[in-house]
Point group: C2
């Protein structure tokens, strides 16, 4: 075992639900975790829960995990890096284009940041709601781009893995389109359906059963937080909503016409199909991986995003990455760890895309 990617410890900034849960998972894995929060009571509660020790700023942590509201994420990332609190930084904000754009505007070293988004949460908030296994089996998206330093990716991947999550890499714009589809637009629609109940007479609402309770469960989420999220991803969310409005118009036309039954059935059948595509429960990630080694030119870090993109197109998740590169040498090696069995497909796909993969 060489030096681990998190041997210099992790600084968690923001000890709410997500930050405290990250701290708990990393402490369980024996990682040194320091905690910062502008709210002293929240910080003290997270420390008491065993999520880490208060930040001391003696020397930089290996990675900062910034877990603050989306609107202040980029400023906090840049602040943490510029103060030397950490060598690299990632975040947990639920949108990824906006913080990446803001980080690039605020610092000359945006490569020290890699955007992250663990796809987990609860309808309750605060350190007291944190769970050591909040991320277990859930996708944890990382969005490296061509400028991202590979160490940032390696360390963020290690956090995701130690938290029991399934690392998923994709470009920030793809992430934002995906979460608009699978999270933000559904949330808004659920809120609109629930909002209709707010305006209805009591004798109608009393007939509500488990079905509409399921449909509207997420609508209980904090309106202020969701306004931030939806505003930060407005374009991608609007794209989905425009399509949904068109589907709604089709449904209305079908309901109003004697010949509309087939159209209605078709819309309902698409719903069954879409529902059937939802991922089931993920198991725990494997502890052993297969490794695919790719020979790259003298900028191995700069090629990481392209490698991840090609792996993603092949349907393969990169679970870990290591860069072997001697300074002054013209070539290096990027080692990609993937689930056992996925290495064959990845090797074939990368070779087809023109990469030089070692046997």
């Amino acid at each position: 075992m060489t030096i681990g990617p998190l041997d210099r410890g992790v600084l968690v900034v923001g000890t709410g639900l997500l930050g405290t849960s990250v701290g708990l998972a990393l402490r369980r894995a024996g990682i040194d975790v320091q905690l910062r929060d502008h709210d002293a009571a929240s910080l003290a509660e997270a420390v008491d829960l065993g999520a880490g020790r208060p930040h001391e700023a003696r020397r930089p942590a290996g990675l900062a995990v910034v877990a603050v509201p989306p609107v202040v994420t980029a400023a906090t990332v840049v602040d943490v890096l510029s103060h030397g609190f950490a060598e690299y930084a990632t975040d947990v904000a639920s949108v990824k284009v906006l913080p990446a754009t803001q980080v690039r505007a605020l610092t000359a070293e945006p490569g020290r940041y890699v955007g992250g988004h663990p796809m987990a949460g609860r309808e309750v908030s605060g350190p007291g709601s944190a769970l050591v296994d909040l991320f277990q089996g859930r996708p944890w998206v990382l969005c490296p781009d061509e400028g991202t330093d590979p160490h940032a990716v390696t360390r963020a991947l290690a956090v995701a893995r130690l938290a029991g999550a399934i690392p998923v890499t994709m470009p920030a714009a793809d992430h934002d389109a995906a979460v608009a589809l699978v999270s933000h637009a559904p949330h808004l629609l659920a809120a609109l359906v629930a909002g209709r109940l707010a305006a209805a007479p009591a004798h109608e609402v009393r007939l509500a059963g488990p079905g509409v309770a399921d449909v509207t469960r997420v609508a209980a989420g904090d309106p202020a937080m969701w306004t931030e999220i939806l505003t930060a991803n407005a374009g991608a969310v609007a794209d989905v909503l425009v399509r949904l409005r068109s589907d709604l118009d089709r449904a209305l036309a079908a309901l109003g016409s004697a010949a509309g039954r087939d159209e209605l059935t078709e819309l309902l059948r698409a719903g069954v199909d879409g529902r059937g595509r939802l991922p089931g429960k993920h198991g725990a990630p494997p502890t052993d991986y297969a490794t695919v080694s790719v020979v790259v030119d003298d900028r191995p870090g700069g090629q990481l995003a392209a490698l991840f993109a090609d792996a993603g197109r092949a349907g393969v998740n990169v679970e870990d990455v290591r860069i072997e590169h001697s300074p002054g040498q013209p070539v290096g090696t990027v080692e990609l760890d993937v689930r056992p069995g996925a290495d064959t497909a990845l090797t074939a796909a990368l070779r087809a895309a023109g990469w030089s993969v070692r046997d």
Copy 2:
């Protein structure tokens, strides 16, 4: 104890999920249950499960519970009554105006039928999915109108009560508007959200989590069955969808404008409010009731719907009803059983509405 309302037994027509569950609950209560189904295998399975014995047609059952698809409900009700298989009939269809209208068109004795809708179901179907406690604590709507025979109401109420349900009475049109709001429109919206997933690339769908799984859970329902339901309640469903489309337009406008944040927050807050109005888990119904006795003129049956309507406006559920009336006498008494404590409010409300309530 006088003669029970179900002492002449119950005939369940249609041994699917709902019919078999009704049979199981009535058998548990010691009621004689006969079963009919055009599908011999389904009938045999329901008999094997203990939901009742095969129908013998020797003498009329006291009540038929017709549990067949909505589109054939009215014809089956009239068929059962005209063959003398039962003295009275109710149904379990999820719309109520359509079968009532059809029954009136098909028979000269529509008063022998009272529309019913137990607000319970599962995403699976068939007698093998039946549950003895499927209706436990769920609303069971009955829709008597001015022509409904009180015996039909009394016997249908007894079925609901023995199944552990909460009886709720309201006009058929009110029922259909209510289920459009709390069930049919939410189902369609859930299907549209799920349908968007059907059209999406795999790397987007793989990020789906528990939130969108909740929102789209009901969308797994059978498209053919839901086409029937939505078509049978098209007007009321369209009314809700038009309002939802207007809300969606507001959300889209808000997302597209820098000044739209407050509007977005307002829509989300209405969602929180609506979600908060959903009824919690109902407890088991009480076994003791308080009785309110109303003196009525010589058509006590014809005044039942008006009494139920006034009780509903007072927020009181009528759990049971008995008619005391000697033939040839100009007046009679309607005894309404309600939850202990609700009798005071009901007495006051009925007196305010002009009814003669006994002390």
